[in-house]
Symmetry: C2
Subunit: 228 residues, 2 copies
């Protein structure tokens, strides 16, 4: 019997490539012998502290990323659709309130991560599929309601999300990501034989599978290798 390998997934719902990585890992947690740990963190803090600049500021890179996301969205079967004003959505409005809310949902959840998974997904759908706000309490409530949380749970998570405890928890998750060497999200940290192997982006799954001794079956593993 081999023990399950722990993989930490650091993500922020402001990042579309994180959404791709998140869905792939949520699919593979049922395929690979892994224990997936969802680690919501704050991308703004990672960019600031690492000294990295958003790639979309270079015009040719921005154009490539739009095209790339369109193609990957179809290939990964994740409905990514850029908001009408990506700079407004990503940099002016940002994701601080949203990621604090996700953190609060995670702290409150016992015995699993079904709720934090579903709330994260609904927030991504809002910003990266439906061009909707993710900054206002009403927006967070709406996402959480769709994710299956009760009105009472939502009220409590919203209150908790502005507490010092949650602000500190999100900060420390972000710092943990930086300590692993983050300069953007998604970031995957695989714990293999006592070593932490870091993979950045949603384009290293094949390599990562090779490193953890698992099989890469494409971004839609339920379709199997035949699809490739």
């Amino acid at each position: 019997m081999t023990s399950r390998k722990v993989i930490e997934l650091f993500y922020d719902v402001v990042s579309p490539y994180s959404w791709l990585g998140f869905e792939v890992m949520c699919r593979y947690r049922n395929v690979w012998n892994i224990d997936l740990k969802l680690c919501p963190a704050f991308l703004g803090g990672v960019m600031q502290e690492s000294g990295n600049k958003p790639p979309g500021l270079v015009p040719n890179k921005f154009m490539f990323m739009s095209k790339d996301l369109n193609r990957l969205s179809k290939y990964f079967n994740v409905p990514v659709q850029a908001p009408s004003d990506p700079f407004e959505a990503m940099f002016k409005k940002g994701s601080l309130a949203a990621m604090r809310f996700v953190t609060a949902v995670q702290v409150r959840e016992k015995g699993g991560d079904a709720k934090v998974e579903q709330v994260s997904r609904e927030l991504w759908k809002r910003i990266w599929s439906e061009d909707k706000d993710i900054t206002l309490p009403a927006s967070l409530s709406e996402a959480a309601l769709k994710a299956g949380l009760s009105e009472n749970e939502i009220k409590e998570a919203l209150e908790l999300s502005t507490s010092k405890e949650i602000k500190e928890k999100l900060k420390s998750a972000t710092q943990k990501a930086l300590d692993y060497g983050a300069f953007g999200f998604p970031m995957l940290v695989c714990h293999i034989d006592g070593n932490a192997e870091m993979f950045f982006g949603s384009d290293r799954f094949e390599l990562m599978a090779h490193c953890i001794g698992e099989k890469w079956l494409g971004p839609q593993p339920e379709k199997g290798a035949a699809k490739l």
Copy 2:
């Protein structure tokens, strides 16, 4: 009978990720129904004109790339080994003379691209495997000799490489890359049904294969899908 799809590969021997992409494409030209066109160009010009910054300037990104290249080098079976001073090699010394030489070899070669392929590979080996110079005429000669060119061919290519014709040819290849939307190398341009589909980097092969209707068998296709 389907006609062969044309794929242009823009590369510079100063770029280690270009080497990975180059070797993969040279392997797949015998596996996929494609017509691979080698397009040596000048990465320095692409970075300058697109306004992109070298990724290695962000410390966490630099550390990730070193690790990433080590892992990919093994997985792709390409002997990438960083030079002792990557900044000196890449930015201070650079690749202008080398890429002019490659361009001259290409212009002189008739009926194929075996020589330009082999000379490019030997230059990559020098800078990205053996920590050797690629700026001096003696260095270029040595690489070309290993690539199987005769002393006479080398002498003529060296002379040609400093001509106005070759300088202009490299400039126009670089401009062509920019016109396709380049902001770095490797860049692959697939011509599909009259459209040019651009892929940046050496981590989009699986997606590219899907787009051109071919099968991705991993970076070492001769080993087949079983390896994955």
